[in-house]
């Protein structure tokens, strides 16, 4: 047998195997830090390749996010929709309902708020704002209930339906802003007219942080933590997610549980959309300006929080910081390399999650010869 053939046998076999004991939370934290470290090293290589000193790049990123008031303001603004949509997704994922449609649910929430804002211009703020939130919540929830019913009654894959409904929502917004709701004062641009002052969510002066939405978000995270821990519905969601067969055995209705999950998950995404349209932009505009990919990034937020509702508060701020740091770099290095860097960090964080419960084993093709 020739050497080349023997080399062929000696190809390593890589397999992923389950750990007997998952990592402790301390080890898990170290794993997370190492993932970030690896991301930073790889990102540094990347920046060197495009001709920017890694030290300079990271200095700018730090300065642009945590290191400057402007950075903090941006983090505060971006974490609001991420927190709101993210905590909703935590509940959905706990029930193993893979809601990929937070983006669309945000958009229909924004549509609901816009409808109220444009229709009742005379109403005072204390009537207007709560009804905008209510309407956004209801529409976002309804938009998520459709795939939930299809899933629980007819076993239709919710990944497909929630994903596709995103496009429905985008087209709906595009139609509205270029059709019936097209603003008269917008010089032909496809925007609605600006909201009246009473229909705008107050902000911390000098920032885009619409604090009422932020408060709702934090309260939602804390309340949902107790909801999952203390209530019968939370218990039913957990059982359904961990073991559908055990849920059946306990007589838990799958249809009812998924309905509750969809109402929470879609409703919170809807509120996030209300916040963007009434807290940041003050009018309905291009779908991507409103939802801005937050609905998809919220999936990462939920995952990084390890499906812990209160953990979303931390993970949403962290993910915002990564995004803001990336934005701060954009003026100095090619845009694509910054996007690759933020993507790299998040990808590493999400993909190393599996190492908490599994490990990678490499074996070589040939057994060791006897001595």
């Amino acid at each position: 047998m020739s050497a080349s053939a023997r080399w062929l046998w000696r190809m390593p076999r890589i397999s992923v195997q389950k750990r007997r004991e998952p990592l402790t939370s301390k080890q898990g934290f170290m794993l997370m830090l190492s993932a970030i470290a690896v991301g930073i090293i790889l990102g540094g290589l990347l920046f060197s390749l495009v001709g920017v000193s890694p030290l300079y790049a990271y200095g700018k990123i730090l300065q642009g996010s945590f290191g400057s008031p402007q950075g903090w303001k941006e983090i505060g603004r971006k974490c609001i929709p991420l927190m709101m949509a993210g905590v909703g997704l935590v509940i959905a994922f706990k029930a193993v309902f893979w809601n990929i449609g937070a983006e669309g649910q945000m958009l229909v929430g924004a549509v609901g708020a816009t409808w109220i804002a444009l229709s009742f211009k005379q109403a005072p703020a204390w009537v207007l704002l709560p009804s905008m939130f209510g309407c956004g919540l209801a529409l976002g929830a309804a938009f998520c209930v459709i795939p939930a019913i299809l899933r629980s009654k007819f076993n239709v894959n919710e990944v497909i339906t929630t994903l596709m409904l995103n496009y429905v929502a985008m087209q709906l917004v595009s139609y509205l802003i270029d059709g019936p709701w097209k603003g008269k004062t917008q010089h032909g641009y496809p925007y609605t007219d600006p909201f009246v002052e009473a229909a705008r969510i107050p902000r911390i002066p000098g920032t885009f942080i619409h604090y009422p939405t932020l408060i709702i978000g934090v309260v939602a995270c804390v309340l949902l933590y107790y909801f999952m821990k203390r209530t019968r519905a939370g218990y039913e969601i957990k059982v359904t997610g961990y073991s559908p067969r055990a849920a059946e055995y306990a007589g838990i209705s799958y249809v009812k549980t998924l309905l509750v999950v969809a109402l929470i998950s879609g409703g919170l995404a809807g509120i996030a959309g209300v916040g963007e349209v009434a807290g940041v932009h003050g009018r309905l505009m291009y779908p991507y300006y409103i939802s801005g990919g937050y609905g998809f990034t919220a999936i990462i937020v939920a995952w990084l929080a390890r499906l812990h509702p209160a953990g979303v508060i931390v993970s949403s701020i962290f993910v915002s910081a990564v995004l803001v740091g990336g934005d701060a770099m954009r003026l100095r290095v090619p845009l694509a390399s910054v996007n690759i860097f933020t993507g790299l960090i998040l990808l590493l964080l999400v993909s190393t999650e599996i190492l908490r419960t599994h490990y990678v084993k490499v074996t070589w093709g040939e057994p060791t010869r006897p001595s």
């Binding site: 047998m1 020739s2 080349s4 203390r230 019968r232 957990k238 067969r245 055995y249 007589g251 057994p367």
Partner: protein
């Protein structure tokens, strides 16, 4: 090499490459092609394997000779499976060495083990369900090939199955086959890979009595031809009837190594558990109130087949009805229909006079019906939730544990504490995730939850399968006590011994129909076995 011309060199390389594709890898087996009966095939010395928190194997010695059937006997958690997984290269030992055919070896992976002539039949089969028997066998061959050698494989399967009486259709898709047939494929795979040492992990757990006999005669034949066989079991009968030598493990250590001809069941049982077994026997039940009435019940199975047809029986308080049958004859569908988790196609189920047909599992549970499901980990508990959360899985909605929309955590804590004491559930705390408990403790948890409230009816599916001797006798005693306290019990078990030990009446189910209903006092093992096998009686 210097004299070798370029053309010759290229040709040699080509031949090498082709022979590799063709699978003519030189055999690397370290055991000689022929081994004489009595030769030591495998010798393990001082094996030690530690998992976080558990010493699974501690200084284990094992010697296996050619032509010998060697039983590994021990309770659940005694370390039997860990030991064979070390021998098969799944785990690497922390200490100790393995000598194969006189030479020390390192077995780094199952493929190494197969190359060294060790074959293993796992408890859970490693087969590709969507493929045919022949395709699965080809996958297991030592030589990987580019093309599928269909004719050859079929021929080899037929050759081997003829020799050992392991008849199987090479063209059948695996998912169509019974557990017994799947096991035959696994054995054939090992034999075709030229295994000289065959390891079987609890091979009889999934077999019918007839299939067990078939397996045993095949194993005896293999031993006669000089192969060595290791088989894991916790059934004493099997050790006595099949094995030549037995190694008994307890808590990771070898506590005995004897020839079966020089020992008896009682000694082995003592070695295994460390105490004498006291068989319990049920007193004849007094006819009580009618609890369960099943009439003309038909149930559709998972594959759309009619799994139960026209089943009818009554069950009274204090009475135990054992349902005996070969696996897959409709007993699972029957108990699931009675428990309310499977739709009834026609017929009716009445509990305590109330028609609960298709009213769902919660309506049934609220009538005081306990259900101990067959699939403990998949259905009986939620492995990722805590012990206390699992203890209220089928009662959390009751007023005792609920305050409006909230769970009454205090009440759950108190209840969990009481249950852990009363049923001796060994767990660090009630907040421990149930996945971490041993099999016996998981079953105790289920039993605590289901039987603690004096249920009117207990539906028990395979209540002791896979449990060790101590947990088994304890759980059987609990069921007997429950019957004594007035519970009616519907018992579905694959263990005929268990059915005979517990039941007042024995119903035999074949292809979804009851073919016999015999009072235990009048039943014999032979009669029930014949009925199960489809003999008209």
């Amino acid at each position: 090499m210097a004299s070798e011309g370029f053309v010759a060199k290229v040709r040699r390389k080509l031949v090498d490459a082709l022979s590799l594709l063709g699978g003519e890898r030189p055999t690397k087996a370290l055991v000689g092609p022929t081994q004489d009966i009595g030769d030591t095939v495998l010798e393990a010395k001082g094996l030690r394997k530690v998992f976080p928190g558990v010493v699974a194997n501690d200084g284990v010695d094992l010697t296996v000779r050619a032509g010998e059937i060697h039983a590994l006997l021990g309770e659940n958690g005694a370390g039997k499976t860990t030991l064979v997984k070390i021998l098969y290269g799944v785990y690497t030992p922390d200490e100790g060495e393995i000598v194969l055919g006189g030479r020390p070896v390192k077995i780094g992976s199952p493929r190494d083990a197969r190359d060294l002539g060790i074959g293993m039949v796992h408890q859970h089969f490693m087969l590709s369900e969507a493929n045919t028997v022949a395709e699965n066998v080809a996958l297991g061959l030592p030589e990987g090939r580019m093309l599928f050698p269909e004719k050859e494989i079929r021929q080899r399967i037929q050759d081997f199955s003829g020799v050992y009486g392991l008849r199987i259709d090479p063209e059948a898709k695996v998912w169509q086959l019974s557990a017994g047939e799947k096991q035959k494929i696994e054995i054939l795979k090992a034999l075709l890979a030229r295994a000289r040492l065959l390891i079987l992990d609890e091979p009889t757990a999934v077999l019918t009595p007839l299939e067990t006999e078939e397996l045993f005669s095949a194993l005896r034949l293999m031993a006669k031809q000089g192969k060595a066989v290791i088989f894991i079991t916790h059934k004493l009968d099997e050790v006595m009837s099949l094995a030549d030598r037995v190694t008994v493990l307890r808590k990771g250590r070898v506590v005995g190594n004897v020839k079966t001809s020089e020992t008896d069941r009682r000694q082995l049982a003592n070695l295994m558990v460390g105490v004498d077994l006291v068989p319990s026997k049920k007193a004849v039940a007094q006819a009580g109130e009618l609890v369960l009435e099943v009439a003309a019940l038909s149930v559709i199975g998972d594959r759309g087949n009619e799994a139960c047809r026209g089943i009818a029986f009554n069950l009274s308080a204090g009475e135990i009805l054992g349902v005996a049958g070969v696996a897959g004859n409709g007993q699972r569908e029957l108990v699931e229909a009675v428990a309310g988790i499977r739709r009834v196609a026609s017929g009716c189920v009445r509990i305590l006079g109330r028609d609960i047909t298709n009213h769902g599992p919660r309506a049934v549970a609220n009538l005081g019906v306990a259900y101990i499901p067959e699939d403990r980990l998949g259905m009986g508990i939620v492995p990722d939730m805590s012990v206390k959360e699992n203890l209220v899985l089928r009662k959390y909605w009751q007023p005792e544990f609920s305050r409006g929309m909230l769970l009454h955590e205090g009440a759950v804590d108190v209840y969990a504490g009481e249950m852990m004491d009363a049923y001796q559930i060994m767990t660090p705390s009630s907040d421990t995730v149930a996945r971490k408990l041993s099999g016996g403790n998981i079953q105790r948890l289920i039993l605590a939850r289901e039987t603690s409230g004096r249920p009117r009816l207990i539906i028990a599916s395979h209540p002791t399968s896979g449990l060790d001797v101590k947990a088994t006798s304890e759980i059987r005693a609990k069921l007997l006590r429950a019957a004594g306290d007035g519970s009616a019990i519907l018992l579905d078990s694959e263990d005929l011994e268990e059915i005979f030990e517990l039941s007042d009446r024995i119903a035999v189910i074949v292809r979804g129909q009851f073919v016999g209903m015999v009072p235990r006092a009048e039943a014999t093992l032979e009669e029930i076995g014949l009925l199960m096998g489809g003999a008209t009686g």
